[in-house]
Symmetry: C2
Subunit: 214 residues, 2 copies
């Protein structure tokens, strides 16, 4: 695997910022968007269970209707693409079995995964409902991280957003009947020339406040 240079990596990560204002005229190309979808599909998760689905909202009318349920933030309507990362609310035996079927379809070894299946099922069983939901939701933040970093590598802007009413998203996007709930949003596209936040220096605690070597 040919690595990129550390300078290139850091240039991308420093360039990235939570875009406040997108240029509604600038669209992500199909090739780039397909790669970003792949970055979501390829995201690692606990045991590989992928307790998520990714919803891309293209319908502009629906996107406009989501603004009021997103603290009035226009990014959900103005960005090239609106990604809604959702997590499954039904993690348990059935999803574990689905994953085992998928594993056997890809890697073979049919019927040999019993102990692994029971280990995962037991892991979930030992959690109460709230813990299971938190664990599933936690995984979606890995996807958020991989998506944002991947976007930066492609010089595409993004804005992670927790400020929205999940119940309203679930209702409008029909998530509940699919045993999903909205976790976090990430509109993506290109920054507007008017976004004054784009040029502000990043605010971070001092390195020695954030990193300890033991």
């Amino acid at each position: 695997m040919p690595p990129i240079s550390t300078d290139h990596l850091l240039e991308a990560l420093n360039w990235r910022y939570a875009t406040k204002q997108f240029d509604p005229e600038k669209k992500i190309s199909e090739e780039n968007w397909a790669a970003l979808e792949d970055s979501l599909v390829l995201t690692p998760s606990s045991f590989g269970l992928q307790p998520w689905e990714f919803v891309i909202v293209k319908n502009q009318e629906i996107r406009e209707s989501l603004v009021e349920h997103s603290w009035g933030q226009r990014q959900v309507a103005d960005a090239s693409h609106l990604l809604v990362i959702t997590f499954r609310t039904d993690m348990g035996d059935e999803q574990v079995d689905r994953f085992i079927s998928s594993t056997e379809a890809t890697r073979g070894g049919e019927g040999t995964h019993g102990p692994y299946r029971d280990m995962m099922a037991g892991f979930i069983e030992r959690m109460d409902m709230a813990q299971t939901m938190n664990w599933a939701k936690m995984q979606t933040y890995i996807a958020l991280g991989q998506f944002m970093t991947s976007a930066a590598m492609l010089a595409i802007d993004a804005c992670p957003m927790e400020g929205f009413v999940a119940e309203k998203y679930d209702e409008i996007l029909g998530l509940k009947e699919k045993n999903l709930t909205a976790s976090v949003l990430c509109p993506a596209g290109y920054r507007s020339a008017d976004d004054k936040y784009a040029s502000l220096p990043k605010v971070r605690f001092e390195r020695n406040e954030l990193i300890t070597v033991i």
Copy 2:
């Protein structure tokens, strides 16, 4: 910002896998490790509050002692570097004020951030302790995602690990007295030639099961 190609991005993300066996002889260079630390520092978080610290365990004796508290998984001792991502257990007014001071030190505007401060403090105040902890922990998974994707871009292997006893890590690494608790681990280094998992095809649900367009 010069983008990388989508092929290059996907090559890196497909190359990445949760490394089961690291080569203990292969070390990450200082330059590469510094860049990976930067990727952690630069990770975005809710409101920019950075409710985390990153602990790098170099002491080999300590690393060996952590194996038994990590379901016996040797990656914590064998990888070139052991990253322990921790989250703050004391998110509240004091941490918000610390962040505002940091913002003013970087961007100026002293004394003008009152409303923003109160908004963030109010957001945290409306959560109970368990919710606040979950929200803080959630952020650390963005860091995990950014770290793993960055490592892949540098052709460095990593292994995300939830399977460990946080209380023991907190005790051994002295985290509790710093108002921190271990969230998730990510040993990093280079895969061993003996790791039979490295060449297995990735298991993922079908694209149309994971991605919906509305």
